[in-house]
C-alpha cells in the first residue's frame, strides 16, 4: 500500500471525524485542531503538569513539563482508605489532551462508571504539543523518550501522588489512533508495567513504503512550509522526527525518506523498525505476559485493513485477544467508544483490590 493511499485514508478518516464532530478539527492549517478544551473541569478531575526526565534534552526543544488529566472516582477524596486501579489513555495525532478531553469528557465517564460500582482512575497525558503536533509516543533523540515518559515518569508520578494499586495487574494502557499505535509499541517493548492493553483505531501499524510523489513533494518544502503543512504531510514529518532522528541534521534534526528525490533505504528501514506489524514477531513472549489484549476498529475506518492484520498476526502467534469491529469511522464515535469499548474492557480485566 502506497504512503499516499495509507496516509490519505488515515487523514480522510480523521477529517471525517472532525466533520462528524462538528468541529473544525483539521481546518486549521497552522495548528492542531479539535474542539475547545472544557472551560471548567468537573470536581473529580485534576489537571496537573508533571516534569518528564525522559524528555529532557530533546533536540526539538519541546516542553518537558507535560499536562496530564487525572479523572478520579467521585468518592476518591472522601473514601480515603481505598486504592484504585488506573487506566492510562494515550490520545491521537493532531490533538492535545485538552482537546481530546473536550470530546471524551473523561471526568464524567469515570464518574458515571463509578455509579455502576466500577471505580478506577483514568490518566491521560498530553502527547500533542510537540513541534509536529504529535509524539507518536515513540523514542528518539529528536523528540525525547516518550516511551520512558509513559512507562517510567508518568506511572511513578501517579503511583506516588495518588492512591493507586501500584501493580501491573491494576494498570491498563489504552489509546486512540496515534495513541493506539503508542499503546501497542509500548506494550511490546515494555512488559511488566501494565496488564490490560486496548488499541482503539490504531494507526501506523504497517511497515512504511515509499510514495515517490508525496515524499518528494515534502522534501521540496521549505521548513516554514513544512510547519504549516496539512494533516497528512505533517503526520509524516512527525513520524520522521520520531523514527528517523539525526542529531547532525539541524534545524529539524531528522532524515527524510528521500534525498534529491532518491529513496533512502536506510531511513525507510528505521521507519519499518517502528511498525508494530513488523515488530510483533520478536515480542510474542512479551505479549503473552498480558492478561488481556483488545483491538477495536470502525468498519468505515481506512485503518481497518491494518488492524485486521494485527488481529490475524495475533491469532497466528497464538496470542489470546479480542477483536471488535464496530459500525463507524476513524473517530466519529470516539466518545461513545471510550464508554462502551475502552472502559468496560478495563473494568473487566483490571484488579480492583
Amino acid at each position: 500500500m502506497g504512503i499516499l493511499n495509507r496516509l490519505g485514508r488515515f487523514a480522510a478518516g480523521a477529517a471525517l471525524a472532525g466533520l462528524t464532530l462538528g468541529a473544525p478539527a483539521f481546518a486549521q492549517p497552522s495548528g492542531p485542531g479539535g474542539p475547545a478544551a472544557l472551560a471548567q473541569q468537573p470536581a473529580n478531575v485534576d489537571k496537573i503538569k508533571i516534569h518528564a526526565p525522559s524528555l529532557v534534552g530533546n533536540l526539538e526543544g519541546d516542553s518537558t513539563e507535560i499536562d496530564v488529566i487525572v479523572a478520579l472516582p467521585p468518592n476518591y477524596r472522601t473514601d480515603t482508605g481505598k486504592r484504585y486501579p488506573v487506566v492510562y489513555f494515550l490520545h491521537g495525532y493532531f490533538f492535545n489532551v485538552d482537546q481530546i478531553d473536550g470530546l471524551a469528557h473523561f471526568g464524567d465517564a469515570v464518574a458515571d462508571e463509578a455509579k455502576k460500582g466500577h471505580e478506577f482512575i483514568l490518566v491521560a497525558p498530553d502527547g500533542g504539543r510537540t513541534k509536529w503536533a504529535g509524539s507518536m509516543w515513540s523514542s528518539s533523540p529528536t523528540i525525547g523518550d516518550w516511551e520512558g515518559f509513559v512507562t517510567k515518569d508518568l506511572v511513578s508520578y501517579i503511583d506516588s501522588h495518588y492512591r493507586t494499586i501500584a501493580e501491573p495487574r491494576a494498570r491498563g494502557l489504552g489509546g486512540h489512533s496515534m495513541g493506539g499505535y503508542g499503546t501497542w509499541r509500548i506494550a511490546m517493548k515494555h512488559p511488566g508495567i501494565f496488564s490490560a492493553i486496548y488499541g482503539m483505531s490504531a494507526c501506523c501499524m504497517s511497515a512504511r513504503t515509499i510514495n515517490a510523489e508525496m515524499d518528494g513533494k515534502i522534501e521540496k518544502m521549505s521548513d516554514e512550509e513544512k510547519l504549516k503543512a496539512g494533516f497528512g504531510e505533517r503526520a509524516a514529518l512527525a513520524s520522521a522526527a520520531a523514527w528517523s532522528s539525526n542529531p547532525q541534521n539541524p534545524p529539524l534534526y531528522f532524515d527524510w525518506l528521500t534525498k534529491d528525490g532518491v529513496v533512502q533505504p536506510d531511513v525507510l528501514a528505521q521507519w519499518v523498525a517502528n511498525a508494530p506489524l513488523a515488530m510483533l514477531s520478536q515480542y510474542v513472549h512479551n505479549m503473552r505476559t498480558y492478561s488481556a489484549l483488545g483491538i477495536e476498529i470502525g468498519t468505515q475506518d481506512g485503518l481497518i485493513d491494518d488492524n485486521a492484520k494485527l488481529d490475524a498476526q495475533m491469532t497466528r502467534f497464538g496470542l489470546k485477544h479480542s477483536y471488535q469491529p464496530f459500525e463507524g469511522g476513524h473517530a466519529d464515535k470516539f466518545a461513545e467508544r471510550v464508554r462502551v469499548g475502552l472502559i468496560p474492557f478495563m473494568v473487566k480485566n483490571l484488579a480492583t483490590k
Binding site: 515513540s138 523514542s139 528518539s140 533523540p141 523518550d145 520512558g148 517493548k189 504497517s206 511497515a207 513504503t209 523514527w243 528517523s244 532522528s245 539525526n246 542529531p247 547532525q248 536506510d266 528501514a269 528505521q270 519499518v272 523498525a273 517502528n274 511498525a275 506489524l277 513488523a278 515488530m279 510483533l280 514477531s281 520478536q282 515480542y283 510474542v284 513472549h285 492484520k309 498476526q313 497466528r316 502467534f317 497464538g318
Partner: protein, 347 residues
C-alpha cells in the same frame, strides 16, 4: 656438557616429583590456580526463556565458565564477569577450541586483570540462534539477559551489578551483544562487538525465498554455511507457528515479496533499530567495535561506527589487518579483555 645436562635432568626429575606430590594434594583445578592459571568448567544451565520453542532446541544450555587464578584461594573476593557470545555455525565448545578461553583469562590475570568469563552456547537446529527472541528458536535474548545472568550471579562470587558485567561477542555474537545492549538496558555496563554481523536489514528475492521455502528440511539442516544462515535468520526473525516444518516465513507470499516478513527482518537489524535505542547505548559506560580490513563485514561495521558517531554515542573503533576470524583469539586477548579491564568495576 653431558654431566650438566644429566644434572639438569636430575633437577628436572625432582621438580617433576614435587609437582606430582602437589598435584596429589591439590585438585587439578587448584594446582592450575596455584600455577597462576585460570580454571575452566563446563556446566549446564536451564533457561525458562527457551522452554517451549517450536524447534525443540534444548532449554538446557552448555555454558563454559572460566574462573580467574585467584578465585579458589581468594575466597572473599568478588569478580567482574565478561559474557562472551560465540558466532554462527559453531558451538561455544568449538569456539573454545579455536580461541582457548582459559588461556585468555590466564593471560589477562598475568596482566593483573582477573575476570570470570562466561561463554554460553546458542547452537540451534539451524546452527545458531542469532541471539534473538523468536517463538520458533526460543527467547535467546531472555536466556542471556535474564536466565544466564541470574544463574551466574547465584552460583559465583560476582560483582552482581551492571558495573561488574560486560557483554561481548564475535560475528553473530557481536550482533547479539549490540542488540541485547539496545533492548535490555541496565544489565551490562560495557559492550564489545568483534566483527558483528547482520547490522543491515536482511533482504531477499522472491526466487531465493521460494527456493528456501521449498527445500526439504533434511537438506536444509545439512546446507552449507551461507544457505543455512538464511534459514537460521528466518527462524529467528520471522517465526510463523503455522508454517511447519520450519515454523518460519521466508519473505514471499503469492509470488511477491512479503512486506511483513521483510519488515520483521528490518526490525531486527541494529542499524535500523538504533535511533529508538540511543538512550540505552548512551547509558553504557563504554562501547567497543572492531573489524578486520579484509572482512566482508567491513562496510556494515563501518556504517555502525558512523551511526554511533552521528548520534553522539562514544565508542572505541578499530579496523585492523585481518579477516573475519583469523586473529580472533589475539583480538580477544589484546583488545577485548583490556577494554573490559579499563571499564568494568574491580570491586
Amino acid at each position: 656438557m653431558a654431566p650438566m645436562r644429566q644434572r639438569t635432568g636430575g633437577l628436572g626429575r625432582i621438580a617433576a616429583g614435587a609437582l606430582t606430590a602437589a598435584v596429589l594434594l591439590l585438585s587439578p583445578a587448584a594446582a592450575r590456580a596455584a600455577a597462576g592459571e585460570a580454571v575452566l568448567e563446563t556446566l549446564k544451565v536451564h533457561s525458562p526463556a527457551l522452554a517451549g520453542n517450536l524447534e525443540g532446541n534444548s532449554p538446557l544450555r552448555d555454558v563454559i565458565v572460566v574462573l580467574p587464578p585467584s578465585y579458589g584461594t581468594d575466597t572473599q573476593r568478588r569478580y567482574p564477569v565478561v559474557y562472551f557470545l560465540h558466532g554462527y555455525f559453531a558451538s561455544s565448545r568449538q569456539l573454545d577450541e579455536l580461541v582457548k578461553y582459559r588461556a585468555l583469562v590466564t593471560a589477562a590475570a598475568a596482566r593483573g586483570h582477573e575476570f570470570i568469563l562466561v561463554a554460553p552456547d546458542s547452537y540451534t537446529r539451524f546452527a545458531g540462534a542469532m541471539y534473538s527472541n523468536s517463538i520458533t528458536t526460543g527467547d535467546f535474548e531472555g536466556f542471556i539477559s535474564r536466565d544466564l545472568v541470574a544463574w551466574v550471579d547465584g552460583r559465583y562470587r560476582t560483582l552482581a551489578r551492571p558495573a561488574g558485567r560486560g557483554l561481548a561477542g564475535h560475528s553473530m555474537g557481536g550482533y547479539g551483544a549490540l542488540k541485547i545492549a539496545m533492548k535490555y538496558p541496565g544489565i551490562f555496563s560495557s559492550v564489545y562487538a568483534l566483527s558483528p554481523c547482520c547490522l543491515s536489514p536482511r533482504t531477499t528475492t522472491p526466487e531465493q525465498a521460494q527456493r528456501l521455502a521449498a527445500m526439504p528440511i533434511e537438506d536444509a539442516m545439512k546446507a552449507p554455511f551461507a544457505q543455512r544462515a538464511a534459514f537460521a535468520q528466518a527462524v529467528a526473525w520471522s517465526p510463523n507457528p503455522r508454517n511447519p516444518p520450519y515454523y518460519a516465513d521466508f519473505g514471499v507470499k503469492g509470488g511477491k515479496l512479503d512486506p511483513v516478513t521483510l519488515g520483521a527482518w528490518a526490525a531486527n537489524a541494529p542499524l535500523a533499530m538504533l535511533p529508538q535505542y540511543v538512550g540505552a547505548l548512551k547509558g553504557l559506560t563504554a562501547i567497543g567495535l572492531e573489524v578486520g580490513d579484509k572482512d566482508a563485514l567491513l562496510r556494515d561495521d563501518t556504517a555502525m561506527h558512523e551511526a554511533l558517531g552521528k548520534f553522539g554515542i562514544p565508542h572505541d573503533w578499530a579496523v585492523y589487518d585481518g579477516d573475519h576470524g583469523n586473529r580472533l583469539a589475539e583480538r580477544m586477548r589484546d583488545y577485548m579483555l583490556p577494554f573490559f579491564a579499563r571499564h568494568l568495576a574491580k570491586r
